[in-house]
């Protein structure tokens, strides 16, 4: 095992990694920006090194500063957490070149998964279900029509270089395809100087399902089951659950096995999350793989009893999977996580400022991951996550009740928070019935 791990992150995930290191008897080095001097990750790490100014680019994204900090502290590994440099293949390579273990997949896996088209092709080749569509760019509306007829409407046209909705058209009626194709091409051309268009099946009301995987350095990969993260606002997850609603054990087993085989084949190691869309016929379609620990990992920890961050450390140190996770992974009960953000409930903008009073909820079945305390200032420079509250119980109904209770007993004064929104979600009949999809929040907020 490592002697000393540098944590290239801040906030609750830095504390989470310190906790995992401490459980293993590994020393920790915190790095921090000048804005984070009074942060708990600085307090709790064995050493702490200031690496730059408040802006992330000067500190938590500052690769030379982080590598230098690892060198002067003599750290033998770096845990990147999530966000910041967690999926930066170049950073993983620099770590490797400097003889520092990067706690995550190898740079090639990170790079492959970072290219969405390549990742999709690799997944498809490995037998992971992907959204039906054109594998190559389409050059004429007749081509598009042929593919669309084959996979069935509705379909979505997307610019190959696209982003932000430009060059994108949803087509529900075959008669609209020709004009939509033309519009998409010209938009794409104007926006990206590239008129490549491809076509995919369009899922009207998808649910967001993701599988947690772990792999070792010896060619073994295991799936730890799925999470449901359909409660999103503007693609930001607000609440996650494990297991997914009405998800059957056979599908869990089946997809899990396909994923394990596919990722073994590409030599994937450490933690990863495979994201899928699920349509109303409960069919799953691969979207992407996140090559890092996920914010919402505690729900999987709750139902499997497996400490995922500890597992990351052990796997990165070369432990075989068999000594890290039990032979048979059992899913016990149900877990829900709420991301308590400091944000304005109307504008959704971060509500930076000083927390005047904070008393986290406790009691049975409640886990809190937070770097907040009374007197701590929510920094405008970083994300607005203040606390992750995870409720675990024998049944989903009991987990919902525990979460409602916990949020009602969370004192958080001085900043505006997402708690009132979470409370509305938890009372909504569709949520309670488990019958919701990724459009839940926009419809709730109407």
């Amino acid at each position: 095992m490592f002697e000393k791990v540098l944590i290239a992150n801040r906030g609750e995930i830095a504390l989470r990694i310190i906790a995992a290191c401490r459980d293993l008897g590994v020393k920790t080095v915190a790095v921090y920006s000048t804005a984070d001097r009074d942060s708990l990750h600085v307090t709790h790490a064995d050493e702490a090194i200031c690496i730059g100014g408040a802006e992330s680019s000067r500190s938590y994204l500052n690769i030379p500063a982080i590598i230098s900090a690892a060198e002067i502290a003599d750290a033998d590994a770096i845990h990147p957490g999530y966000g910041f440099l967690a999926e930066d293949a170049r950073f993983a390579e620099i770590c490797r070149d400097c003889g520092i273990r990067f706690i995550g997949p190898n740079p090639d896996s990170i790079r492959l998964m970072g290219d969405k088209a390549l990742a999709r092709k690799a997944a498809s080749d490995a037998g992971i279900p992907v959204l039906p569509g054109s594998p190559e760019p389409l050059h004429a509306s007749s081509q598009a029509r042929a593919v669309a007829d084959e996979i069935g409407f509705p379909v979505i046209l997307k610019a190959s270089m696209g982003g932000g909705g430009r060059g994108m058209r949803i087509v529900r009626d075959p008669h609209d395809l020709e004009s939509a194709f033309g519009q998409a091409r010209s938009e794409a051309g104007a926006a990206f100087s590239n008129t490549d268009i491809y076509l995919e099946k369009y899922v009207e009301r998808p649910r967001h399902i993701e599988f947690q995987v772990l792999g070792d350095e010896h060619g073994n990969v295991i799936s730890l089951g799925e999470r449901e993260c359909s409660i999103q606002r503007r693609h930001q997850k607000l609440l996650e659950e494990a297991p997914a609603n009405a998800f059957d054990a056979d599908t869990r087993e089946h997809i899990g096995q396909i994923l394990a085989d596919a990722l073994q084949a590409i030599g994937y190691s450490n933690a990863g999350t495979v994201e899928f869309l699920m349509d109303d016929e409960r069919k799953l379609y691969f979207i992407e793989l996140n090559a890092r620990i996920q914010v919402e990992h505690p729900v999987t920890e709750a139902v499997t009893g497996i400490d995922l961050v500890r597992s990351q450390l052990l796997l990165a140190a070369g432990e075989p999977l068999g000594s890290v996770v039990p032979d048979a992974v059992e899913i016990r009960g149900h877990a829900i996580e709420c991301r308590v953000n400091a944000e304005d409930p109307e504008t959704f903008l971060p509500s930076a400022g000083k927390i005047e009073r904070f008393a986290a909820p406790g009691g049975p079945g409640i886990r809190v991951d937070s770097a907040a305390y009374s007197g701590w200032t929510v920094q405008p420079h970083y994300d607005s996550l203040v606390a992750k509250v995870t409720a675990h119980a024998g049944t989903r109904g009991a987990a919902i009740r525990r979460m409602r209770r916990a949020l009602s007993m969370c004192v958080l004064e001085g900043v505006k928070t997402s708690i009132p929104l979470h409370q509305r979600i938890l009372e909504d009949p569709r949520f309670v019935a488990g019958a919701y999809d990724t459009r839940f929040i926009e419809e709730l907020e109407l």
Partner: protein
């Protein structure tokens, strides 16, 4: 009891200091004993206001205005360009704005650090080959 008397003396002494210095509170703690004396609101006696507290920078200059040269990066501090060379600057030596005062090595790159001030090197705060943080004070420079 003897102990009571000792305490009385100590408390009175603290109260007198409180007066003499125009303070509102003194806390005193020593082996097994803790004493706090306070006077709310107005301080008796001379009670001119104390000068604003100088921000604690941990260092000496009693009277002194000094400037600090701080590290612009995380890395390893080197006093000289090579183990054989003499240090760029020495305590008591004179520096000019723009003069190289040390090297910070970060990611195998040697970064020359220049003085922002003209003056005299009052103190060097870091040992050779020691790791330094971002913004860590390296030298204190007093004006001529």
């Amino acid at each position: 009891m003897a102990e009571t008397k000792v305490v009385r003396e100590e408390v009175e002494a603290l109260a007198d200091i409180l007066d003499a210095k125009g303070l509102t509170e003194i806390e005193y703690e020593a082996a097994g004993i803790r004493i706090r004396v306070a006077r709310a609101g107005v301080a008796a006696g001379p009670a001119q206001v104390a000068p604003p507290l100088q921000e604690d920078v941990g260092g000496p200059p009693a009277d002194g205005s000094f400037q600090e040269i701080r590290s612009p990066m995380v890395g390893t501090f080197y006093e000289a360009s090579s183990p054989e060379s003499p240090p760029f600057v020495e305590s008591g030596g004179r520096v000019r704005k723009g003069q190289v005062v040390c090297i910070i090595e970060a990611m195998k790159l040697m970064n020359e650090i220049e003085s922002d001030y003209d003056g005299v090197v009052a103190e060097r705060l870091v040992a050779n080959a020691e790791g330094v943080e971002f913004d860590q004070p390296l030298f204190r420079i007093t004006a001529d």
